[in-house]
Amino acid sequence: MHNQTVVNRLPRNVIVWLAIGILALVASSMLPAGFFSWLWDRLNVFATVFLGIFVEAVPYLLLGTFASGLVEVFVDRDQMSRWVSRRPAAAAISGAFMGMIFPVCECGVVPLTRRLFKKGLPLSAGISFLLAAPVLNPIVVLSTASAFGWGEMLFWRFAVSLVIAVVVGLVFSVQKEAGEVLRPVLAGEEHDHVHAEPGDSIPEKIRKALLITVDEFFDMGRYLILGSMLAAGLQTFISQSSLLAIGSGPVLSVLIMLLLAILLSICSTVDSFVALGFVGTFSFGSVLSFLVFGPMVDIKSVMMYLQVFKRRAVMYIVAIPFMMSLLAGLVFNYFVK
């Protein structure tokens, strides 16, 4: 009887596919000439942009997941609670400056933060680390300085990022129940495939750290890939040049820059060189908001956030920096420059 249903189903499938094929042929003959070469061109741009983001991000993701593996095997929960203050304000501020020790950008920071949470890092410290580390680290200081010089842009970029990171960290310190914010993987319900034991020898620890790196690389990598595909897809079909063309006026220009920060999904280590290209046409405030908001939120980082935090929490992590970056941009546009 089972066999019979398979036999019955087969021709129906063939008919459906034939119908789809014929429809596709008819539809393609009605398309304007040159449509397929246009589509092929778009596909090529998509492939080049997607692989660009991916190739660029892989070393950083490896760095972040390896850091996470090392934290898993070398840091225990007691040490963590000795290092980091439980007072919300102190925790948020120290979290924001932790990026100076862990030079990771937005791809690497997510797995590392997730691991630190597992080790008992307070929520407020972890959130401000997550948001600040991609900017407040030595590599980004140097790249921003080499693009803009040791001047106002550098200072304000770091000051505003620091304030936003600490504020969001404090907002989360109100939530005492980590399980309300973090996805269950972190609350200890689900386990890793690899377990660190306190008595492991150093080579054994390294072996385990590397296996954790592999697991996390695949775990986070798939969201990096989906995020990069989305970003590349948007870049292939949404015209940045017309976006930039409508972006004048003190409010609209900031909004456009924020939108572009999400759309471009570029690594914080080099975004200042890209931002420099907007200096001529965009005001100080809007470029600043691009530099502050871009490292905190873009398509691929939001995809990765969703693996660590519950949806509601991600909404806050995206919305508060968005509004504060917008506010910072507007303040500069109206009152300073």
């Binding site: 492939a47 660009g52 070393p59 010089g149 592999v214 079909f237 975004d271």
Partner: protein
């Protein structure tokens, strides 16, 4: 999926990524995707991928040995990891293999647009560009100079020799075309195109997106109200795609 099969799948994917990256380094296409200054970082990443693949394969050997020595513990891993999402890692490999690699060209202008001016970054002094022989300057250098200097008449009449791809724009006359390059700070995602108009009588014989070296003298012209350089070409010759198709600011 049993633990060992899951690990094998992981190992193969890591190996696949390793081969993909190595092939891009070997055929010189890595700079079609990223700024050349990140190449060393990518190489470190490649070595690390190899270490990870090795770790996974030796883990598989270990667990096989373990199963042989302790058959009674065969079901040690009752939580079977799901491989459901590992396959996503295949996407970049498939895209890399199935879609022939091509650096950004004028087909990206549709969404990315192009510029006829370029900003000076604070770490390069214009003095440096002044000192380079005029024929050594690339498209980016010329645009920076014209953007930075108030008085551009000093450049008029200088010899220029630039490499780029051909782009025909409806706004230009039939004896003109743009010679363009993409400027990439980080990766192809942030690439933006820059272009210098070229006057060349035989323009119609050129092909869109073909790579050329343009030799001639610099003129100054107005485009949309901006002062931009223009090259009055004496020769336009076809060249191969340069090793580094993009310019790096």
């Amino acid at each position: 999926m049993p633990q060992r099969m899951f690990r094998s799948f992981q190992g193969l994917l890591l190996l696949g990524l390793f081969v993909f990256f190595v092939s891009k380094v070997v055929n010189g296409q890595l700079t079609w995707y990223i700024n050349s200054r990140f190449v060393p970082l990518t190489i470190i990443g490649i070595l690390f991928l190899a270490i990870l693949a090795q770790t996974v394969f030796s883990e598989i050997r270990r667990s096989r040995q373990h199963a042989l020595e302790h058959p009674e513990h065969h079901h040690e891993h009752d939580h079977s990891p799901s491989a459901g999402n590992l396959w996503i890692m295949l996407i970049p490999l498939l895209i890399g293999v199935l879609i022939p690699a091509r650096p950004l060209d004028s087909s990206a202008f549709e969404t990315k647009g192009f510029n006829t001016s370029a900003p000076l970054i604070s770490s390069d002094s214009s003095a440096q560009i002044f000192e380079t022989e005029s024929e050594e300057r690339n498209i980016l250098d010329w645009l920076k100079l014209f953007n930075y200097e108030e008085d551009v008449t000093q450049f008029v009449g200088q010899k220029a020799s630039v490499v780029g791809f051909v782009y025909f724009d409806e706004a230009l006359g039939s004896d003109q075309f743009y010679v363009s390059r993409f400027v990439v700070s980080c990766c192809s995602a942030d690439g933006f195109a820059i272009a210098i108009p070229v006057r060349w009588d035989a323009s119609v014989g050129l092909e869109q997106d073909s790579w050329v070296v343009v030799k001639g003298t610099i003129e100054s012209t107005a485009l949309d109200g901006n002062r931009v350089p223009m090259i009055a070409a004496e020769s336009v010759e076809a060249v191969d795609v340069p090793d580094q198709p993009y310019l790096f600011p």
